[in-house]
Symmetry: C3
Subunit: 432 residues, 3 copies
C-alpha cells in the first residue's frame, strides 16, 4: 500500500496549486492530470447554455493579481496564494486609497493567520482575501494603493470530466466529486483524488457488477449542467456516492441519503462497524454538496458521503489552512480504504432473478438434484442444500437481495450466496 500513498501524495502536491474555479483553464489542467490516473472524457458546456433554472456564465481565467502599497512592494500577491483573489473577480487596474480599497477586502472571522475563500460567480465584483496581518498592514499604509487583477471574464465554457465503466448490470452507481475549488486540500481536492483513484481501481477489476458513472464537475452548477445533459440516465440511477472532505486528520463521518431506509445507509454503517472505525452520523440535510441536485424531486437519488473532517465542521474549512499540512496522503488512503470496502459491499450486493419463473427448474438435468427419486424424506435435519436451493429459487424475483433472502430464511448471507453461485453457473438464476 506504500505505493498508493506515494501516488496520492504526488497528486496532492501537483494539483493543490492550481487555481480551479467554476470554469477556466485550471479546471482543464486538473482533468488532464486526472486523466493520467484514470482515462476520462472532457466535456465543455458553452457559456450561455441554459441548464434547468441556471445558465453557464462567462469563463474566468486569471494570470496574476496584487495590491502594492505606497512603497511599491506587493503587500498582497496572488502568486503566493490563489485564495487571495475572490473567485470570478473581474479585471481591475487602479490606484486607490484605503477608503476605496477597504470594501473589497475579506478576512477570516476566526482565524487571523488564514486567508478566507470567497467567490462571486453570479454578481460582477472584485476583491481580495487577506490575513489579519495583511489587513492591518494595508490599513496602516499611508498613501495610495495600486491594485491589479489580471483576469478575464469572457464567453468560453464550463468543463467537466466523466468516466463510464460498464458492468454486468445496466444499473448504475454514480460517483460524484467537485473540482471547482482552488488551493484547498480537504474541501474538493480530497474528493477529486479519491474519485479518480476509485475509478482506476474499478476499471482494473476483472469484472464489475454495477455500471459506474464517475463525474468530476464544478459544484452546484456543474452538477446541474451534468443532470440537464444526462437527464434520462440520471433519472434511472438509484444510488450515488458524493465524495468530499475525506482527507482531514479528524473523525470519520457519513451523511445519510434522503431515504433513511435505503440500503446504501446500512451498507456504509456496516463498513464502519466492520473496520472498527468510530464515526459521526450526519442525517440527510438539504445543505451539503451535489447530493442537493441529485436528491432533488426530479431525480431523488440516494446519495451517501463518507467524510473525514466533514465540510462545515473543521475550523480550517474554506480557508488557506485547509492545506497540505491538514490533508495527508495517509489520511486520504484511510478514506480510500473505506470507500473500497463500501464498493466491495455494493459489488457483492446481489439481486437475482429466477430465469425459469414458471414451475420449478429441472434440477436433475443440471446435476443439482439426487438422481434417485422417492427418498423417504428430504434432509430436513438442519437444512439441506436442496431445500435452500428451492427456497432461493422461490424467492429470487429480481427485487430481493441475497441479504434479504438470508434474513427471510434465517441463515447467513454467505450460505445463500454459495448456493446462488451454483444456480448462476447452471444458468437458473441471473443477476439483475
Amino acid at each position: 500500500m506504500r505505493e498508493l500513498k506515494d501516488e496520492l501524495d504526488a497528486c496532492l502536491r501537483r494539483l493543490f496549486p492550481l487555481c480551479r474555479s467554476l470554469t477556466g483553464e485550471a479546471n482543464r489542467q486538473t482533468l488532464h492530470i486526472l486523466n493520467e490516473i484514470a482515462p476520462l472524457t472532457i466535456h465543455e458546456v458553452p457559456t450561455g447554455t441554459a441548464v434547468y433554472d441556471w445558465m453557464v456564465p462567462d469563463e474566468w481565467n486569471i494570470r496574476d493579481a496584487w495590491i502594492s502599497g505606497p512603497q511599491g512592494h506587493r503587500i498582497v500577491d496572488f502568486q503566493s496564494s490563489n485564495l487571495h483573489v475572490v473567485g470570478y473577480s473581474e479585471p481591475v487596474e487602479l490606484d486607490c486609497d484605503w477608503a476605496q480599497l477597504k470594501p473589497h477586502l475579506h478576512i477570516h472571522p476566526n482565524l487571523p493567520e488564514a486567508i478566507p475563500y470567497r467567490t462571486s460567480y453570479y454578481q460582477r465584483d472584485w476583491g481580495f482575501c487577506v490575513t489579519h496581518a495583511q489587513y492591518a498592514e494595508l490599513e496602516r499604509a499611508q498613501g495610495s494603493f495600486h491594485v491589479v487583477i489580471d483576469s478575464d471574464l469572457k464567453p468560453g465554457s464550463l468543463t467537466y470530466g466523466e468516466i463510464l465503466l460498464p458492468g454486468q448490470s445496466t444499473q448504475e452507481i454514480l460517483i460524484s466529486c467537485y473540482l471547482c475549488h482552488p488551493s484547498m486540500a480537504n474541501d474538493s481536492l480530497s474528493g477529486v483524488l479519491l474519485a479518480a483513484f476509485l475509478a482506476r481501481h474499478l476499471a482494473g477489476r476483472e469484472r464489475l457488477h454495477y455500471s459506474y458513472r464517475i463525474v468530476f464537475v464544478p459544484e452546484t452548477l456543474g452538477a446541474i449542467a451534468y443532470c440537464a445533459q444526462n437527464e434520462q440516465a440520471m433519472k434511472n440511477i438509484d444510488m450515488a456516492l458524493v465524495i468530499t472532505t475525506a482527507g482531514g486528520p479528524g473523525k470519520f463521518g457519513y451523511k445519510q441519503s434522503w431515504n433513511i431506509a435505503h440500503p446504501i445507509n446500512r451498507l456504509v454503517e456496516e463498513v464502519f462497524r466492520e473496520s472498527g472505525e468510530d464515526f459521526i452520523t450526519y442525517p440527510f440535510d438539504v445543505h451539503g454538496s451535489d447530493e442537493r441536485q441529485y436528491s432533488s424531486q426530479g431525480f431523488r437519488i440516494n446519495c451517501a458521503t463518507i467524510s473525514k473532517d466533514r465540510y462545515y465542521e473543521y475550523p480550517e474549512y474554506h480557508s488557506s489552512l485547509d492545506n497540505l499540512d491538514f490533508v495527508t496522503a495517509g489520511q486520504l488512503e484511510e478514506s480510500f480504504d473505506l470507500y473500497l470496502r463500501l464498493i466491495d459491499k455494493l459489488e457483492s450486493r446481489r439481486v437475482y432473478r429466477n430465469r425459469i419463473p414458471h414451475c420449478e427448474a429441472m434440477l436433475s438435468k443440471r446435476a443439482l438434484y439426487p438422481t434417485t427419486g422417492g427418498a423417504q424424506r428430504p434432509e430436513l435435519n438442519g437444512r439441506s442444500e436442496l431445500d435452500l436451493m428451492l427456497w432461493i429459487l422461490f424467492l429470487s424475483d429480481g427485487r430481493q437481495s441475497t441479504a434479504d433472502i438470508a434474513s427471510t430464511l434465517g441463515i447467513e448471507v454467505k450460505d445463500v450466496e454459495s448456493i446462488v453461485e451454483k444456480l448462476i453457473e447452471k444458468e437458473v438464476l441471473e443477476h439483475v
Copy 2:
C-alpha cells in the same frame, strides 16, 4: 354582525311559506329569491330525463286544497299550512265518507299538535296530513266530506340552482344544500340560507384559493341529476360540505365523511375546538342527505356536515313544529360562523409544488440567496431562512400541505407559510 342576523331573519320569513317540493314553481321562486343574495344560474332538467337509475317525474304544482265537512267549512286547509297536503298529491275533487277518507289521512305518531310531513313522489296517490285534533274532528263528523286538491302533475322539469366561484386552484370544493322541503325551517331551509350566504361571502372575498361549486338541488333526485349532468367535474372533487339542519336551538354536531382519515374531518374538529363549542360526532352513515349520492362508489367525495339539531334527532323533525319558533336567525348565524371558520381553514390549507423539480432553483437570481459565496458555514444557529427555504423546496411535491411540512420540520405552520409566500412571489413554488 347585527346586519347579517337581520338579513337571515328576513329571508327565513320570506322563504318559509313557499310550498317547495321535488319540482315546481315554488322551487323556482326560492331560487329567484336566493339569487338576490348570491347570483346563481337556474337549470331545468325536463320530465322524463333519465339520470342514472332514476328518471325525472312530472312537475307538481299546487294552488289550493281542503277537506270540508258536512257543515261546509274547511276542517283542513292548505292555506293555513302547506304541510297539510302530502307532497306530489294528484288532483282530487270528490265527496266521500269517513271510511273512504281515512286511508288518505296521516297524523304524527308522537306530537299531537303537529302536522307531519309526507310525500309520495313516485307513486301516484293523494293525502292529507293533519293534527290529532283535526283527525278527531273529521272522525267525529257525520256525513259526507268534500275533498279538493287543486294540483297538477304534468310534464315540466326539475329545477336547481348552481354557483361556480373560480379560485386560484382548479381543485373544487362542493357545497350542497337541498331546497325541496315546504314550510320546514331547520330541515332544508336552514341549509339553503347558509349556502346562499356562504356563497355571497365567498364571492366577496378578494381571492379564493379553491374553486367552489355551490348547488341548490332537490334532495336525492336533484343531487343525482346534478351528478349525472356534471359527472366528470364531480369525479374530480375530493371534498364537500353538505349543509342541512343547522339552525335549531340544540347542540352542534358534525357528520364525518366516509374516509375518517380525510383532512376535512380533522379541520371540522379543529373549528369546534378553537371556537370552544361542544359538539356531537356522528360517524359516517349511508343514511343522511345528499352525501349519500356524493359518497357513492362512482364519486367517493368526502362530505362533512356541521349541524345544529341534526335531522332524525330533534322531535320536531319532519313536522310543522320545525318552524320559525324552532329556528332563529341568531342560531343560524352561529352555524354560519362555524362554517366560515371552516372555510378559512380550508382556504388556508396550502399545498405547493416546486416548479423547478430538477436540481435546485437558482435563488441568487431571485434575490433569495447571499450573493457572496463561500461563507464559512450556513447560519445553523437556530434555523436560517435559507435553510428552511431549501427544505420547503425539497418537500413541496404537490401532495404535502404546509401543515405537513411544518410538522416534518418541527416548526410552526406560519413560519413555513411566510417563506412559501416569498417562494411563490418569486415563482419557484406554485399552489396546487
Copy 3:
C-alpha cells in the same frame, strides 16, 4: 353416507394394484376407472414435448419382473408387489452374481418388512426394492441369479385427466391430485379418489358459483406439462386445493398457502374449528406436492392441502406399508367431509359489485323501499333492512366479500346474504 364409504372402498381395492408411474398404460386405466366416477377428458402429451424447463420422457410400461436364485425360484417377484421394481427401470434380462446384483437393490432404512418406493425417471437404470428378509436371502444365496425386467421405454406420451365444471363466475378454483404412484394408498391414491368424488359432487350440484378445474396429473412433470399447456388459464387462477395423503389413520393437518393472508387459509381453519377436529398447521414450504409448481413465480396460486397423515410425516410413507391396512374408506370419507365443508365455504364466499356505482339505486321502483317518503326517522332500532341494504350497496365494490362486509357492519354473514339475494334478484348487485 354408508354408500359413499362402500364406493370409496371398492375404488381403493380396484385402483390400488395398478402399477402407475410417470407415464404408461396403468395411468390410462386409472383415468378410465375415474371416468366412471366423474366424466373426464384424457389428454396425452407426447414424448419429447418441451414443457418449460422439462421434457416429456419416453413412456414406460412393465409387464413382469423377478429375480430368481440359483434354485430357480423367484425370490423377488413383481407379481407380488409392483413396488419391487424401481420405477422406470429399463428392460433387463441377465444372469449375474451377488456382487453385480447388489448395487441394484434398495431396502427401506427403517422398516425391515417394507418394500421401499424408488424411481429413476430421468436417468436410465434398473433396480429392485426388497424387504430386509429378501435382501438377506439374496445375499445368502450361493451361485448365479437370473434377473428379468420385462419393461419397455419408448416414445409414447404422458397422460393426464381434466374436468372443467363451469360455474356462474369465470373465476376458477383448481383442484389437483397426482396419479403417478404405484401401489401406495395414502400417498397419491387417497388424493386421486377424493378429487374424483369431489368432482362428482360438484358436477351434481344444482348450481356452482366458482368454476372448477380438476386435474389428475403425474406429480411434478404432469403439473408442469399442465401449466405449460394451460398457461393463460393458470395465470388467472387465484386459489387451489392440492389433495394428497388424506386417508391415513393419524391426525388431520393443513398446509398453508404461500401468502398466509389469503382467505383460503382462514377458511380451512374455520372448517377444522367448526367440525371440532384438531389439526396440525404446516406452514408453506417449497417442498411438498404440486403446489410447488402452482405457487411458482409465474403463477403464484395460493394452494391449500388438507391431509390426514401428511407425506413425510408417517413412517409408512413411500413404502409398501402405505397400503389398504393403513388407508381405509372410513378415513377417506372423513377427509372428504372436510373438503366438502371447505367447498361449501368457498361456494358461499360471495363478492358482489353494485351495478349502479353512481349515486344511489332507486329502490322504490324495485319495491325495495317504503313508498311513502318523509318518515319521522329510519328504523334504527336494531338495524332495518333498508339500512343494511344501503350499506351493502355502499360497500359492494367487487372486492369485499359478504363476510368482509358482515364484519364491517358487525352483523351475521347470513343477514348480509339474505339482503344480497334480494339485491341480485332486483339486478342491483352482481356476482363477481
